[in-house]
Amino acid sequence: MPFSSSKILNALMESLLMAQDYARQHVLLCLIPAFFIAGAIANFISQENIIKYFGAEANKFLSYTVASVSGTILAVCSCTVLPLFAGIYKRGAGIGPATAFLYSGPAINILAIILTARVLGFELGLARATGAIIFSIVIGLSMHFIFHEDEKEKIKDKSLFSESNTQEERPLWQTTFYFTTLIGILIFANWGKDGSLKIWQAIYSSKWYITGILLIILFWMLVKWFNKEERAQWISSSWSFAQQILPLLLGGVLVAGFLLGRPGSEALIPKIWIGNLVGGNSLWSNLFASVVGAFMYFATLTEIPILQGLLGAGMGKGPALALLLAGPALSLPNMLVIRSILGTKKTLVFIFLVVTMATLSGMLFGYFF
């Protein structure tokens, strides 16, 4: 390695500085609360109660709606997505809801949305979440209309989707209140300075008091409503999310910093290249970002530092959204798995729909922002 070359040295510096920025700005206030939320979802929301909406007999409108949003709850681990997708397709509500779930699941994973909004800006986070929900329904319906003829001789297995007899131990209002408090802590701890309205300013200056009060409420709820085993499970699954994700994220940040540099500075890859390939908001830039995103594999959340680097190096916001919408849902390895379930023809149509929709939504977003 030519370490003495000033170019390499500078790139190494950039990657370390970017890692430091992440550790300082995002880990403590944003990622740690987010891990606790993900841990709470994995433990205290019953996944079986959602599955009943994916059975062959379920109301179609509900199947699509639930499929498009349930990724926030079900896709906290990628190992959940594929078996459930295969189950919905082969034995349940069919190809439409199955592909809707497959597409939206990874894209609206709660950790990904929180970190996107935090690092890449609120608009892009919101566009990612709403884009994923809307397009999953459009893609699911398109797949249904293209292929519904093939669906007739499917095995419908009702018992697979029946509601389990496990009782919810906690009343719904307690669960709701608990999650609202967790999300409140995340929001208020990260409240940014904004002087445009008096109320924003007032919230900003008292954000630590609000966060403190919410923390006290949270402790009270943990003591009153949860038993010792549940608290231990919550901590341990939050910790296992952190263990799984933080090393990957650190790797992503280091690579992004090394190749692309922090916003405002240049590292190994010259800015002019990025600008030429994915700058502006042309059809070509958006298409290129979608296709690259569709084939490339992003480990959980690593798409975010990479995009931050790219945006800083001159990528347009439209292509950035295109990459976010095509990226996490598809990758070459998971295309192969999908193909083993759907077959080549349906997989190609699915990929084509994802790339087209991502390109179009990127152009639309780039036009407005």
Binding site: Q47, E48, L74, C79, P83, G87, S240, I341
Partner: protein
């Protein structure tokens, strides 16, 4: 006794496998631990969310990695 790990090979399934092996070693029971990776076979256990653990054909836990103590408890119940 037959213990089966249901999952398509993600990191949580590997974790579950390790825990089951530890539990079995601790108890000193002779069992056969097998991995079920074929999605269609997994459905036969009425399981849609992995990882899952089946003992003698009954799914004991679905969609999460249980603690070693829980696994030990289930093995004792079943034997």
């Amino acid at each position: 006794m037959k213990i089966e790990i249901l999952g398509i090979g993600c990191s949580k399934c590997k974790k579950l496998h390790e825990l089951v092996e530890e539990a079995v070693n601790e108890l000193g029971v002779s069992t056969e631990i097998t991995k079920v990776t074929d999605i269609n076979k997994i459905f036969d256990y009425k399981v849609l969310i992995t990882p899952a653990l089946a003992i003698d054909g009954d799914a004991m836990v679905v969609g999460r990695v249980p603690s070693k103590e829980e696994i030990i408890k289930w093995i004792k119940e079943k034997s």
